[in-house]
């Protein structure tokens, strides 16, 4: 492939790619993101390929493996173009039927289509409620692109924004546009990207760096991963534009090595852009030089913090350092360094192509554009959701997310990752943007959104996050290192039923110290989960401490299981499944749980058929005396007492 030497070359290339593509030719696209991969999309792909060749359709039908579509709950997802027929939960066994109908107009595999509540099937991906209420400006191209093929990105207008800035705009104009668009950092802080760019641009020094932060460490958040895996060129294009505006000639992508697909797709994308002359010396013949190095993160949550990440790039342990001087002025090797999150960079080409006015027309006063959230936990439609800033939590959780599974009651939603907070039902109509979330005691974070139902214990959740952060604290600052440890100790004892009066106040006091005296954002925000759960769910803490009761039935030390003799039908399922043989009984004999042997693993509770619901989980009250061994069950026809 010859290097593209001008903007005209790029357009010629685009026209050439498009001329070879017949929009009417059927194309089977298959989601190959991490979620669908876990659900077996590899096997589906193999089945599609062999089925096509078996039927001699190889030249008549294209196959494309795309990045994550977002609807992870129902993967693997197959979308067939040009009709955009969307099949969900496709198994290798379904493939022959799917393939056989590809060339038959109007014939569908109905059982694989989405069905709404009324049983009506929906054919097009975009009309499925999960997608219909989203606005996928950043994430939407994932489903159209094979991330391993740069031509797919170029065919959709890729790198036209880069050509535009290089030949039609000066660096200042680019900077001004991004500032005017009020693009705020998607990684958590929400700092205006344009202002940061300007600081780095104006900082003294000839050598400046730009960095993509893809060290997405929030457990339960995977939007950056899916973007980098599914559409790496959008991130790279944004980065090169940023470098041009800032006056940088060297960039880094810091990506977690736990994301092997992201690393390999990114590395491949880099070699393709180099080959095309979109990266390296004299990009598109403009005279602008820029190179990018991939740096793999070795797995430390704190390394996602900007100064820690820069230290890690220098080859030493990624610990944060004081930011009396901003990293924008003194970052990697004490040179001006501009760092933005994956999603922030991916927004840049859109702003350049469609203008700041278009971008500011989306969102709220203070937060412009869209945000991708990873909607997970106790929600029907797990997946990645992109919505305009300002959409309410209710709309995300219920309209798009399909509500809470099994008719359970919504309790809270946790946003912002371990540093964020839990928001209760009373705040469910809160518009989601940077400022509203911060005001409510949580934060945007990178966009994790974990839904919790009535079966989630808030003290346990606080303990989980605090424990995670104590584990991830680098140990540099004493309040963070020792303070979080002490908070975990207190939370542990509360969850064990050994909490004491005054523990809640002690937690609050410790939180204040950790917040005030820690150096980096990890410590400063670490108490958020504890504080927000105390603020909104104090009664749950009190139940643990005063009544030794876990209202959600989660904390092991505070719950017990017994079998209601009036409901037990002696079906033997729990007896067989109990891993510690704590259940006795037999044919027609009421099953009894030996409280001494029981490890509270919850297995009996899960396996007892719902039509019996004989296993009872209790907390805060004593277990009723078991019937004598050998008591017979009451048959359906028998009278119940």
């Amino acid at each position: 492939m010859a290097r593209l030497r001008s903007a005209a070359d790029l357009e010629k290339k685009r026209a050439q790619i498009l001329s070879k593509r017949d929009p009417k030719k059927p194309c089977i696209t298959l989601c190959s993101g991490t979620g669908c991969h876990a659900l077996g999309s590899d096997k589906v792909y193999q089945a599609i390929v062999s089925e096509l060749s078996r039927n001699g359709l190889k030249s008549k039908v294209d196959v494309r493996r795309t990045g994550c579509h977002g609807f992870c709950e129902r993967g693997p997802i197959v979308v067939i173009f040009p009709a955009e027929t969307c099949y969900l939960g496709v198994k290798p066994g379904d493939v022959p039927e799917v393939v056989s109908k590809v060339l038959m107009d109007g014939e569908l595999v109905n059982r694989l289509l989405y069905k709404d509540a009324s049983g009506e099937t929906i054919k097009h991906e975009g009309e499925i409620p999960f997608y219909k209420h989203q606005r996928r400006i950043v994430f939407g191209n994932n489903r159209l692109i094979d991330p391993k093929n740069i031509d797919d990105y170029i065919a959709l207008g890729g790198y036209s924004a880069l050509a535009k800035v290089l030949f039609e705009m000066g660096p200042e104009e680019v900077l001004e546009t991004v500032k005017r668009a009020n693009l705020r950092g998607r990684g958590g802080g929400g700092f205006p990207a344009g202002v940061k760019w300007e600081t780095t641009r104006n900082a003294p020094g000839d050598i400046k760096y730009v960095v993509v932060n893809a060290d997405e460490g929030d457990p339960g958040a995977f939007m950056d991963r899916s973007l980098l895996e599914g559409n790496p060129h959008s991130v790279l294009e944004g980065l090169i534009i940023g470098a041009y505006a800032i006056g940088s000639h060297e960039g880094f992508v810091y990506v977690r090595q736990e994301y092997p697909l992201a690393v390999s797709n990114l590395t491949l994308a880099l070699s393709q852009v180099r080959e095309y002359g979109l990266l390296g010396k004299n990009i598109l013949g403009s005279g602008f030089d820029f190179e990018v190095t991939v740096h793999r993160g070795a797995g430390a949550f704190v390394s996602g913090e900007s100064s820690a990440l820069m230290t890690a790039i220098e080859g030493v342990v990624g610990e944060p350092r004081p930011k009396y001087i901003r990293t924008a002025v003194s970052g990697i090797w004490e040179r001006p360094t501009n760092l933005n999150n994956v999603e922030t960079w991916a927004n840049v080409p859109l702003i350049i192509n469609r203008g700041a006015d278009w971008f500011t027309s989306i969102g709220t006063d203070g937060s412009k554009g869209t945000k991708i959230f990873s909607l997970v936990g106790k929600v029907n439609n797990t997946g990645l959701v992109e919505v305009p800033m300002g959409v309410s939590l209710r709309e995300i959780i219920y309209t798009i997310g399909g509500g809470i599974p099994r008719g359970k009651k919504f309790k809270a939603v946790q946003t912002g990752g371990p540093s964020g907070g839990c928001l209760p039902e009373s705040l469910i109509d809160l518009p989601v943007d940077f400022d509203a979330l911060t005001e409510a005691g949580s934060m945007m974070g990178s966009g994790g959104m974990i839904v919790m139902d009535e079966d989630t214990c808030m003290a346990d959740v606080a303990r989980y996050f605090t424990n995670f952060l104590a584990d991830e604290s680098c140990g540099k600052c004493i309040p963070c290192r020792a303070g979080l440890e002490q908070m975990v100790t207190i939370l542990d004892r509360i969850c064990r039923g050994e909490g004491e009066a005054g523990d809640i106040e002690l937690l609050e006091e410790l939180s204040e110290v950790v917040q005030d005296v820690s150096l980096c954002a990890l410590g400063q925000t670490a108490p958020n989960p504890v504080l927000s759960t105390i603020r909104h769910f104090r009664d749950e803490y009190e139940a643990h401490i005063e009544r030794k009761r876990c209202p959600a039935g989660v904390c092991k030390a505070l719950i017990s299981y017994y079998i209601d003799p009036n409901k037990c039908t002696a079906c033997g399922i729990c007896l067989r499944e109990c891993p510690v043989e704590a259940i006795s009984g037999g044919k027609n004999l009421v099953h009894i749980i030996d409280q001494e042997k029981c490890t509270k693993c919850n297995t009996c509770f899960e396996v007892c058929p719902t039509r019996f619901s004989a296993v009872v989980k209790s907390s805060g009250e004593s277990v009723p005396a078991a019937p004598p061994l050998g008591a017979e069950v009451m048959r359906k026809k028998g009278k119940r007492e």
Partner: protein
Amino acid sequence: MARGRAKTLSGERSSAKEKSRGGKATPTTKTIRGSERNDSRLPESVLTRISDRLGMPVSQVSHIVETIGQAAEEAGDTDRIVEKYEGDKAALIQILLEIQRENRWLPRDVLMSVCKKLGVPIGRAYRIATFYKAFSLTPQGRHQVSVCMGTACHVRGAPRLLDRVIGALNINPGETSPDQKFTLETVNCLGCCALGPVIVVDGDYHGNPTPKEIERIVNSCN
């Protein structure tokens, strides 16, 4: 040093005792090591003798010997990896990551050899190896079992699942079973929250398995 050890192991077919001690710094070239790679197995009679003395099955002894041999061979490859990064000190983390990926753990002599090449203190390598989660300073089991402890999995019952897996494998997270069969680890979010709580055994994902299913999965590993 690392190269020397490779020579000792694959070249001279020394006993297990000598292997654990490391070897002398006799430089070898890659071709020699490569051509001898197939010969690194011990004769059946020696394996039987070791297995008698240690009271473990021959298959296990042979696996351990093979693992040690491979580790030593990989150690010899550190030079190649260091050279790939042109001896750049700032690439220490990247170099260790590559060694970890190929070798699945970081033996002490490998760390020493890397640090010597780069001219950095060994303490820095240990600091990195203990700070980041990706590194292991002990050999890993043949089967990798990861339990996701991400938030989504947590609220869907990951702690209970972890208890079950601990019960089934009889090892705690971060540990390797004495027969080198399993290594259990916990990870923070695998990005497949729809399946949660999830365990991954040798790259295969299993969503919310029951105790019986865990038993079946574990038993299917050799």
